[in-house]
């Protein structure tokens, strides 16, 4: 059952369309990551779900409620981490957490939150003197102090150092394992791959791909390799019985399943023509490959479409 649900979401600021058409569902115990380039509409989508604005068309529901009309009923049950800011610079983590804890009936103990987010050592330092990563972890602690059933985390790892990221990831996972629905955004693919049960790729205000990280990365049937520029792709294609293209000078793509036979065929052909093999990627792509492939094909379509207001 969907805890967070957006259907055909469309949001414009004046005549600038921030979100064109986004549909997402997040169930209890699920971590869904919205990923996309800056300006793709991630933050607008999340903030509409948080109740900061009403959609121009489409619908949003959180725990079955309308985020704007039912704000008072939803507020005790959701946790929000804004893309930036949202904390008093003059307050220490302990003071800010104590204050926020007073807003909720069943808040988590402040010491527990400090410990969980690794802020105990700097608990008395005013937020303005914390590092960027520590401030993000404080914002995360403030989002979770009220034991939310739904967490919206906008770029929770932006500016966080590698150690802090490990902390953030483990908090997100344990939140979901306790049954919360988590929607987070990032523009870093490695982050999405590590923490998400599902990834939704958005670009230009639209969902362009969606699935488990493993599904997204294995959909491509291709072998990528690097070799000197200008090799005879027609001859290679004939040898492999699959289309071969030179994607960029010196980088080639064979449109076939990455079977051992295909790879053996490729290396044999290169050996026969006395050509060096500089790089070879086959089988499981990184999410980054999938992401680049998906957004690149969108941009190509986009260039052909005309007259769209953005």
């Amino acid at each position: 059952m969907a805890v967070i649900e957006a259907k055909g979401l469309h949001v414009a600021f004046g005549n600038v369309v921030a979100v064109e058409d986004v549909s997402i569902t997040v169930g209890a115990g699920e971590v869904v990551t919205l990923i996309g380039p800056n300006g793709a509409g991630k933050t607008t989508t999340v903030e509409t779900l948080e109740g900061y604005r009403s959609p121009d068309s489409g619908s949003v529901r959180v725990l079955g409620l309308d985020p704007v009309a039912d704000r008072a009923a939803l507020a005790p049950r959701i946790g929000v981490m804004l893309q930036e800011g949202g904390t008093y610079p003059g307050l220490s983590a302990r003071r800010a957490l104590t204050l926020f804890a007073s807003y909720y009936d069943n808040a988590r103990p402040v010491d527990e939150m400090l410990d969980l987010t690794g802020l105990t050592a700097v608990a008395s330092t005013p937020a303005k003197r914390l590092s960027g990563g520590e401030r993000r972890r404080l914002a995360l602690a403030l989002a979770l102090v009220g034991r939310p059933e739904v967490a919206f985390l906008d770029e929770p790892t932006a500016g966080v150092d590698p150690e802090g990221r490990v902390v953030v990831r483990s908090i997100v996972r344990s939140l979901a394992s306790q049954g919360a629905a988590v929607l987070l955004t990032t523009h870093e693919l490695a982050e999405a791959e590590r923490v998400a049960s599902r990834v939704v790729i958005v670009d230009h205000g639209r969902v362009v791909a969606e699935g488990k990280p493993a599904e997204l990365v294995t959909t491509a049937q291709e072998i990528l390799f690097a070799a000197p520029t200008g090799i005879d792709v027609a001859s290679l294609a004939a040898a492999l019985m699959a289309p071969v293209t030179e994607v960029t000078p010196g980088e080639y793509r064979v449109a076939t399943a990455a079977s051992p036979q295909a790879i053996a065929g490729l290396t044999a052909w290169l050996a026969e023509h006395n050509l060096p093999l500089a790089d070879l990627r086959a089988g499981r792509q990184s999410l980054e490959d999938a992401y680049m492939r998906i957004t690149a094909s969108i941009d190509k379509d986009d260039a052909q479409a005309s007259g769209r207001t953005r």
């Binding site: 109740g51 610079p89 629905a181």
Partner: protein, 262 residues
């Protein structure tokens, strides 16, 4: 449709018994924190305490201005009690709220159960609490300097409250519409202007033709309403009370209409 992960006794209602309990607890915590934030910052104490105290002592003891009252402190005690309201309800409130808006704090609080009504309540209560401290400190110093308040203490309290409504309206209007840095400049600018031309530093009558305009400004009206109540023998000005009442309606009204949380 509702998925309840953590059992919550008020899921979907938001206004049960525990909801009321919670908002009482949140109001108390928020008010205390707002007061602490005001009192721990040096630059805020400058406008709320240091400048009024220095002005009171200096102008009451050194014959710089002809006040037209038997004792100089009889003129300056009501002046600084009006200035207390201007500094706390307008300058401090505007700057604090303006920066909270620019830091995204107001936006963030919007998705907590605190609610804008409780936040507003906490801010107003903290303004009143700081004003009580100001009245005690400034009034105490004035008494030590020989001031003996008139019989109208109750009337003066009403004036301070009406002034607080008017000036916090202006404070919220600035904070909710301008960038924080602009709010800072405008609030401090208004403080200096009102200090100069609203009968706080010298009698408003000395402004000549401009006095009519000065009396229409909220600080001028507040001083005119307070002075008779706090000085024996003078009588109340209906015009001042009406002017103050109009500001107390218009300024919060404009703030409510124009305030933006982001």
């Amino acid at each position: 449709m509702t998925v309840t992960v953590t059992p919550s006794d008020e899921a979907g209602t938001g206004r049960s018994g525990t909801g009321r309990l919670r908002s009482g607890r949140a109001l108390r915590a928020q008010t205390v924190e707002e007061i602490r934030m005001t009192l721990e910052q040096g630059e805020r104490l400058l406008v709320t305490f240091v400048i009024p105290i220095l002005g009171l002592v200096l102008f009451s003891t050194v014959p710089i201005v002809t006040t037209g009252t038997p004792k100089r402190v009889d003129f300056y005690a009501p002046s600084v009690l009006a200035l207390a309201v201007v500094s706390t309800a307008m300058v401090n409130l505007a700057i604090a709220t303006g920066f909270e808006r620019s830091w995204g704090v107001l936006k963030r609080l919007g998705t907590t159960p605190l609610g804008s009504a409780t936040l507003l309540g906490a801010k107003v209560l903290s303004v009143l609490a700081v004003e009580v401290v100001q009245v005690i400190v400034l009034g105490g110093i004035a008494v030590a300097l020989g001031w003996r308040p008139g019989a109208g203490a109750g009337v003066a309290v009403a004036g301070e409250l009406l002034g607080t409504v008017a000036f916090s309206g202006i404070g919220f209007l600035l904070a909710g519409t301008l960038r924080a840095e602009v709010t800072l400049a405008v609030a401090n600018g208004l403080y200096v202007v009102m200090l100069g031309i609203s009968g706080i530093m010298f009698p408003i009558a000395k402004l000549g033709a401009f006095a009519h305009v000065a009396r229409l400004l909220p600080a001028g009206a507040l001083v005119d309403a307070l002075r008779p109540a706090l000085t024996s023998g003078a009588h109340a000005s209906l015009e001042a009370w009406l002017t103050l009442a109009v500001w107390a309606v218009l300024a919060p009204g404009a703030a409510v209409a124009a305030f933006s949380f982001e």
